[in-house]
Subunit: 248 residues, 2 copies
DNA sequence: CACCCTCTCGACAGGGTGTTGACTTCATCA
DNA sequence: TGATGAAGTCAACACCCTGTCGAGAGGGTG
């Protein structure tokens, strides 16, 4: 049995390492970044830990996941876990890196056609934002939670959201420059607030138990998520393109 | 078994009507989450724990505060702590109750003069919101952080913010009824999003600045907090009173 | 074959949580 | 007054989780 592949219930028998043969693993089409071995390679083990972590984060809170869970999920012992990661947080950090990397692709050309159809473009941006969170619900929720007690995680999260904020601020500035949008708060300040708005509303929707309004309380209702996105879009559009009315 | 732990640490499978309060907490609006009051020295001890907790939360993360810290801060031993509170979380819950109780007063008449000067009224509301957070920075930040792993805390936080959301939604509905504001997203949906916006932006400001001291009162940059509030107000006003522009 | 380098885990140390059971105080009442 | 029982207190314990150490087991390489 190969502990790296799908062996879920890790055999606690430490005696004979059963996974011994498996000689021609590298003969296949997938080159494994140069390293190959009879017993599962370090790369495979490391990936197994990450896979186990993402699966466990779909089942329970990050705080409730122990290092033993991670290790057994990857078919190794707890001390061996420390050969690959310094801590639980380091695993989450790596996972967050992956999400950030994927998010970069997803949001690359989001603001390309702003002048043609602003409303549609902003909607695309918000949906890209929400889609990135939703596609990695466990990691997003865990990172948002652990952020407050883990400075490294907070820093990584900050750089991730700063990318969005920078892009948003640039887009707002461009809209003002071409006269499509009136003056208002400093673009970066407005962009920060709007992105924090999205972050909070979306994580609230993802965690479920939050005060996000009647629509999200009953997720069975069709259109609940669409209503939320529609509300976000309304706030983005009015705050970017609308002017503050004067008091009577 | 302790009298306190019997009441507070509710097993998830136990009776649903578990929040049966002790008969002696009718003197205040704050439910008694600790021990059932009996001896004055006991009350003082309980209060000493709460005071120590709020002080410690001004110095370090909630996760870094141990029960031993709390106990020693109150001049008792660790086991004695359990006579008064079932857990660290129960202490934070009680602190959050106090904040909620105080917040209720603070935000009672915030929307009274909306029709006279809408902009000024909404600003007052946002400042009341921010002021409540800032006045209890440690508790707010700790509760926002622990919320994700403590369902009871999440529920308490939800009822707290739901009060604001209800008031906001009612005010938005009133503005629409009197013709001051155009149609838009469902009032409660919009109110939820706007309140989550405030929560996130304000906690970000609270955690981002100095770890100690009244962050909102004396920020590093003079005017930084005013700018943030101004940005929030801009988003509130435009999203409540502005209409979404049509795409060309 | 000898050597090293990657990889593995049993065993330990340490710190945190929550519980137990014996003990002290003290108000109350027969 | 002395018995009673509830309120309050804590040393010691059981347990869980984290992180480390040192003794290895293999393959790759000369």
């Amino acid at each position: 049995m190969n502990p790296a592949s799908a062996a879920e219930t890790a055999p606690p028998s430490s005696g004979p390492a059963a996974a011994k043969a498996a000689p021609d693993d590298a003969a296949q089409g997938v080159p494994n970044r140069g390293r190959r071995a009879a017993r599962p390679s370090g790369d495979e083990r490391q990936r197994a830990i990450l896979v186990a972590a993402e699966r466990l984060l779909g089942e329970k809170d990050f705080a409730d996941v122990t290092i033993d869970d991670l290790a057994r999920g990857a078919g190794i012992s707890r001390p061996t876990f420390y050969f690959y990661f310094a801590s639980k947080q380091a695993v989450l950090l790596t996972l967050l890196d992956q999400v950030a990397h994927e998010a970069e692709k997803r949001t690359a050309d989001v603001f390309s056609d702003l002048s043609a159809a602003p409303s549609a473009a902003w909607r695309k941006a918000i949906e890209a934002f929400a889609g990135t969170f939703a596609a990695h619900r466990g990691v997003s929720v865990a990172a948002a939670a652990a952020r407050s007690s883990e400075p490294e995680l907070a820093a990584e999260w900050a750089t991730l959201t700063n990318r969005w904020i920078d892009a948003t601020a640039a887009a707002i500035g461009a809209e003002r420059d071409r006269g499509a949008s009136p003056a208002g708060p400093e673009p970066r300040l407005l962009a920060s607030a709007l992105n924090l708005l999205n972050e909070r509303v979306i994580t609230a929707a993802l965690t479920g138990l939050e005060p996000t309004g009647p629509a999200l309380r009953a997720p069975a209702l069709p259109g609940a998520v669409e209503d939320t996105i529609e509300t976000l879009l309304h706030i983005w559009l009015t705050s970017i393109y609308g002017a503050v009315p004067a008091d009577p």
